[in-house]
């Protein structure tokens, strides 16, 4: 998610940005040192509460654009969360909208896959299994771990999403005995995520 926010912050005039979940909790931020300590959390709560209250009045806002004496705040409510961009007043709005549009779609995908997950994500190390020809792509996970997720163990197959940075790949999790707490990924799947051997990825079952 940080990578997506860094892309936004690369724009001239953007001072900071953050993503919050469906409760207004800041999940990831960039440029927070440009603002008073802890202020992003407060801003997130303010906007989230306002959006919620307006929703009760059947207004359901999908964007706030607020201009101040010394800056501008653009908040986009995206699916289960929101993207907030903090910038200068003279920002190039058409260009920012284009950038924000692309970013919002990627963030929504990340937030949706996290929302659908019943269990806490696990951070696991990638190890390639060269020559593995699991049809449709998949990752092998220790049976014990699969059971820990409340799923069936050895030989079972479940939907999962694997993430690295801002990238998400939907795969199958296949329970297999005796592999340890290690994600075994097909080389081409790992490449699509930009993951190298030894990298850490997040697995959501």
């Amino acid at each position: 998610m940080k990578d997506i926010l860094r892309d936004i912050n690369a724009m001239v005039g953007v001072q900071g940005s953050f993503v919050a979940d469906g409760k207004g909790k800041v999940l990831s931020s960039v440029g927070e040192t440009n603002f008073p300590a802890g202020s992003l959390g407060g801003v997130s709560q303010e906007i989230f509460q306002a959006a919620r209250s307006l929703g009760f009045a059947h207004l359901n806002p999908d964007e706030f654009d607020l201009s101040f004496g010394k800056g501008r705040v653009i908040a986009r409510l995206i699916g289960p969360g929101m993207l907030v961009i903090l910038c200068s007043r003279d920002i190039n709005i058409p260009l920012l909208n284009l950038t924000a549009e692309v970013a919002a779609k990627r963030i929504e995908q990340l937030l949706e896959s996290a929302k659908e997950s019943k269990f806490e994500p696990l951070e696991l190390r990638v190890e390639y299994m060269k020559g593995l020809t699991l049809k449709g792509g998949g990752i092998w996970v220790d049976e014990e771990l699969v059971r820990g997720w409340g799923l069936e163990g050895k030989g079972s197959s479940h939907k999962a999403s694997v993430r690295k940075g801002g990238k998400v790949k939907l795969l199958r999790v296949v329970g297999k005995k005796g592999l340890g707490r290690t994600v075994k990924m097909l080389v081409h799947d790992a490449k699509k995520l930009g993951a190298k051997e030894g990298d850490t990825v997040q697995v959501f079952a």
């Binding site: 008073p36 207004l59 806002p61 964007e63 706030f64 201009s67 101040f68 010394k70 800056g71 705040v73």
Partner: protein, 111 residues
């Protein structure tokens, strides 16, 4: 004076309603369609939220804001302690309306 501003703005084709509200949500002036009390409450609610956001970020005074949703578009201006809310059609050109608001509020020359 306030009635003159809200009256002039409510005459714009793309504006459905205008309200000037006190910080307590009391309607000071209004024009156009809609329930002015509800419009005033909404305007003050968003303006005060924006003011707190601006203070938290050291961005200074809230000047103006918009929000979209459910086929509605609302423009809100901070006017000292008061707030001006314009309820506009979803397809409205905001820049034209903003220009006109600034003229009425005395920030720009009338074209």
């Amino acid at each position: 004076m306030n009635d003159k501003i809200t009256g002039a703005l409510s005459q714009l084709e793309e504006v459905e309603g205008v309200v000037l509200s006190s910080p307590e949500g009391i309607v000071l002036a209004q024009g156009g369609k809609g329930n002015p009390q509800e419009a005033a409450a909404l305007t003050v609610f968003v303006a005060q939220m924006a003011q707190r956001v601006g203070e938290a970020l050291n961005y200074g005074r809230f000047e103006k804001g918009t929000f979209n949703g459910q086929g509605r578009r609302v423009l809100i201006y901070g006017q000292g302690d008061h707030s001006l809310g314009l309820f506009v059609k979803p397809e409205a050109s905001l820049s034209l309306i903003e220009d006109r608001v600034e003229v009425e509020l005395g920030g720009k020359e009338k074209r």
